[in-house]
Amino acid sequence: MSQSTGEIADLIARTALRDRIAFRELYRRTSAKLFGVTLRILGDRAEAEEALQEVYVKIWQRADRYAAGGYSPISWLVAIARNHALDMLRARRPFAEDIEQAIEIADLGPDPERAAVEADERARIDACLGELEGDRAEAVRGAYLDGFSYEELAARHKVPLNTMRTWLRRSLIKLRECLSA
């Protein structure tokens, strides 16, 4: 994946310039990944397909907001797909909310090697999650990868809701220490 990172960044930049061929190529190269994201979070093929369509409409409309920063282009695309899927989940939950601004990703400044960044982030989060107790790391991953709410996490891990909140918050504090070390 990392070898193609620069190419994906170029395709996003060309999409921002309304280059339709580049947009098609971007879809060809990335749609399986983004469908994997919407499908995992929404758990329903028809909904995931509808979400994927909306996600690429957003990518076409917002490609010019991609700033080449210390953020991998694939992660930028995954964030759009993930946030859109979470948005759909929230709409189903009792309290609907707007997470539109969650799509904005700050430019982290001058870009280091993007591919190296990708591998680096992976190793770092793995190492830091590895320092947490197994079920707590699993809860963090469940929130990020599956879009589970506190209620769903509590049910899956068979603990009271407040226990899950406490677990997760303590885990996040530990994670933060480890991740910024």
């Binding site: 930049a13 921002a16 309304r18 190793a123």
Partner: protein, 235 residues
């Protein structure tokens, strides 16, 4: 929202809330309240960027699943403007473009720049484009004179960005953008168009300006955000 000690105020409290925000765990009201704070508190926004970047290390765990056929076609039907729909409005009015071209010249004369002096008889076509983009205060007007083989471009508004340059691109049809070099802000410039590129300059050629590292895109392809763009029209 103070059911337990972890969620008290203070730096850790904020940090945890931002992490919960990034994961999508906050209930609606809290989420919205934090979104408002994120918009005005740079330290919190940096914290969010940090969490996002760190969590993105998990992205490789999303398995690839080939989507059903037909999604791309539906996306394209929505985002690519249909030819029939682009016939009306100020943007397509010849009068508007003539006016714009006149404005362009007036600006040029005021700036004391473009040689108004004996213009050669009209031997080639002339194209004009207004370059702007949503969310950007940067506007350019560009004029292509085929006879002179020049693109003349003037900034109408917008500020330079520190340690960044603006780079001009020409896009012919569906080909990749071709760099026309770095352009100054706050003044006009004449850019010679290489002879090989001239036949590509026809009405509909898109000119775009992107924000690039000092000295221009290192890769030869645009890397930064588009700050202004527009399609050329014959005058």
């Amino acid at each position: 929202m103070s059911v337990d000690g972890e969620q008290g105020g203070g730096e850790d409290g904020d940090r945890v809330r931002v992490a919960e925000f990034a994961l999508g765990l906050l209930p609606a009201q809290e989420h919205e309240a934090l979104a408002r704070r994120l918009a005005t508190e740079p330290a919190l926004a940096r914290e969010l960027a940090l969490w996002r970047r760190r969590f993105s290390g998990l992205d490789s765990e999303f398995a690839e699943v080939t989507p059903p056929a037909g999604v791309l076609e539906r996306v394209e039907a929505r985002v690519f403007p249909q030819p029939a729909a682009r016939s009306s409005g100020l943007w397509n009015s010849l009068g508007f473009w003539r006016g714009l071209a006149a404005t362009c010249f007036a600006l040029a004369i005021v700036a004391g720049g473009f040689a108004l002096a004996p213009r050669p008889p009209l031997t080639g076509q002339e194209l004009v484009a207004a370059l702007e983009a949503e969310g950007s205060n940067i506007k350019f007007v560009a004029f292509y004179d085929e006879a002179a083989g020049m693109v003349r471009i003037a900034a109408l508004s917008g500020d330079a960005a520190p340690n960044k340059d603006f780079e001009l691109w020409a896009i012919h049809g569906t080909s990749p953008p071709v760099s026309m070099g770095v352009i100054p802000v706050g003044s006009k410039s004449d850019i010679a168009v290489p002879a090989a590129m001239r036949p590509g300059f026809v009405a509909g050629t898109v000119l775009a300006v992107t924000l690039e590292p000092k000295g221009g895109s290192p890769s030869g392809a645009p890397t930064g955000p588009v700050v202004a763009k527009g399609a050329t029209t014959a005058i």
